[in-house]
Symmetry: D2
Subunit: 247 residues, 4 copies
């Protein structure tokens, strides 16, 4: 049993994580901390790993405390730029047995599908991305689709693969989608959807499609639990859950 604590335990995400930890037979929820609670509770409860989904304003102070007290951390709080990562790295350098995982995206399916798309990209003549979301989304394409297309483009450039063939000579404006580093990206907005993405790869006579569907804000939970289980065995700073997936 790993002894787990949660920071930001009363927030929507925090509550979901507390539930997920309690439902896991190999994890024990030993401490919950939110605004106003003393962070020392984690030490008193002999917490081994703390999950932090809080706020950019407080996360650095949290992490400094946790690392100094040799508690591993799994962090979903946003706002980590290179200077912040450098500071965290300096703390773990001083406490080399401690592991800190900072990840912008804990949805395992999203991370895997990006990685697979990147790996497959150079073996196909053509690649395009379709992302489909609920109609309240403000940006098109989604950040994930943009990153996916950029990763695909970089992998193809590195392998010396030319652009996807395209004989379009008459186009109704916008039909062929947006162009991200030469990769076409199409954004669908539809009532009844949540967050979905499809990478289509094609060559002579065959296509490969990698599709990710997320219908629940809690789709981060399995990725967080994976981080909790693995971070104890990965001292130092880990950025992104990719290294945990052994791809």
């Amino acid at each position: 049993m790993i002894r787990v604590g949660v920071l930001g335990a009363n927030g929507k995400v925090g509550r979901a994580i507390c539930e997920a930890v309690e439902a896991a037979s190999d994890l024990e929820l030993v401490a919950q901390v939110d605004q106003g609670d003393p962070i020392e509770k984690f030490v008193d409860a002999r917490t081994e790993v703390v999950v932090d989904f809080t706020h950019p304003d407080v996360v650095m102070k949290n992490l400094e405390f946790l690392v100094a007290n040799r508690i591993h951390a799994v962090v979903g709080t946003t706002g980590f730029d290179e200077p912040r990562l450098a500071r965290v790295r300096s703390w773990v350098d001083a406490n080399p047995e401690v592991g800190v995982l900072i990840a912008p995206n804990f949805a395992i399916g999203a991370v895997l599908s990006m990685r697979f798309a990147e790996q497959a990209a150079r073996f196909f003549d053509s690649v395009e991305v379709i992302e489909l979301h609920h109609p309240n989304k403000a940006d098109a394409p989604s950040g994930t689709a943009y990153r996916t297309a950029a990763l695909i483009a970089a992998a193809r450039a590195k392998a010396g693969v030319g652009p996807s063939p395209d004989a379009t000579s008459t186009e109704l404006e916008g039909a062929r989608g947006a162009d991200v580093d030469g990769v076409r990206v199409h954004s669908v907005r539809l009532a009844g959807l949540v967050a979905h993405q499809e990478v289509l790869l094609g060559t002579q006579g065959e296509t490969l499609t990698i599709r990710h569907d997320s219908i629940d804000r809690n789709s981060f939970a399995p990725g967080v639990l994976l981080g909790v289980r693995e971070i104890g065995g990965r001292p130092g700073l880990t950025v992104g859950i990719d290294p945990l997936l052994d791809l």
Copy 2:
């Protein structure tokens, strides 16, 4: 057994139709005519239905002969505008027992999916169309996708349904596709594909997707055979295979 003849029998399409007729247990291929052959062969062979996949230059003469000789016709030749249709109508008016079917598209799946999309359009908050083709296609969107979107838009306008909701405020140019009468259409061009189309309809908590995949130029054959079997019982001029589908 229906006695069937084929005009343009040596062309690529004509040969495929001859094969399909011969493979059907309820049809008999009794005459084949191509350039240089006398069209009277159909009369001698007591042909009941002739299939015409020839050329706009000769099809009108063919049809005049067939109707005058009381032979039903199933026509896939292109180039029929309103004046041409009016002339055909005058011929069948003079021979009211004869049936002539002229259709721009014999792919049953394509016709059904357009019709279903049109019927369903007014019951959903959102509708978008994705069409996917081989990368040698010159136009985007495809003619079928354009017509499908226009039919959807007309059905929604008639029912008083407002535009699909869309909160997009930041768009990379083209991401949201082309706008056909208010319906978004996305065109994918990918090696390994042939001709595919997806209509996505969505409302609170549910989506309906109507997808058509065509991977073979022979996908017109089942529609042509349907026409051959039905046209004898449908005197007069029929335009499009929709009426044969009893939708």
Copy 3:
């Protein structure tokens, strides 16, 4: 503005319907009744249409009262067999201006996809059904998939279409799915899914796929609102929402 009342207003479904009615600009929620409340509230509030999602034990008494008071009814409560329908019919015969809609399924997408599958079934050589649900479902196939397959089989039998071709000679037990009146049905159970169904129809060189995805228990709401808007113009008893869809 149609004046709408809700019976069973405090239940989970009832609350969702109250919210949906309040969110609709052409409907006004004028009365809510649950256990313990007098049903006469609907009369006092001059309610035009009442939605009933209650219990088989009380729904008949509710309906007798509503029809006698010339209030239209939209009913999602289960348990209607032929004798019950006959009694409702006798009540509306006595009040011929009143409309009553009783439907086992208000998910418009599900009803449309069943209907489209039924219409398309006779034009394709092959038809199979795949239904995909969350892993807590007890029955396989789902009731909807079973009904869909039975409707498809009946439509094909009526049109004299033979069985789907299948050359399978070596089968690992169960691979080819369940057999419902000659139509193969496959049941997938997967974490992360809710309720999904795909009807695949195929003929030479082309396939047509009709897919319905439901990710929310509230997917009945649009169908209920459709019933509320239409039932005033449809006196007598209507069973199922199909007639409202003008298919």
Copy 4:
């Protein structure tokens, strides 16, 4: 320019490979050999790589000659068991600069999708496989689906992942598919399809789908060309194209 020869050049597959080599700007087709032609033509033409899609009866003799003459080989001929592989290994041990690639499947998309499924399998609660083929196929499930399911099962067993959850208590026989080492496999047979496979992986709130569509017997060509380009840099015996994909 790599100098390429083809063995079995007059067969259906051989002709397709000759065309693919000729179409590639970095490859030169310098010799074609079929039954009756002397295999020495490859030596005379200073061939660097020979592609062999012949017959189990002759492939061993071909390979012995090629390796002895220090010509790399890319082999799609079937029938390689462990004793045969051991003999080939002994030949390349004696000529260590020569590379021989023997692969049962050159469809890159199929190989990638199997590999991705294997990599992803342990991160999801549930996995199922759907394979869809033309109705003339004799076996169900397909060999590829069987192997895919077995690879998934082995990866999950190795990671200590339990069986996919399944609460089915009432099943129409066959609905839940075939059981391959605990992984459910569903086989669809449909006119209009060629060869398709979908691996569905699901966990709380999200699913990942890896789909491979093959619509052309020539879908082996890109994999063969990849082998031709890479084998010169990979001395020794390589079995399967996986190592060339750097996964």
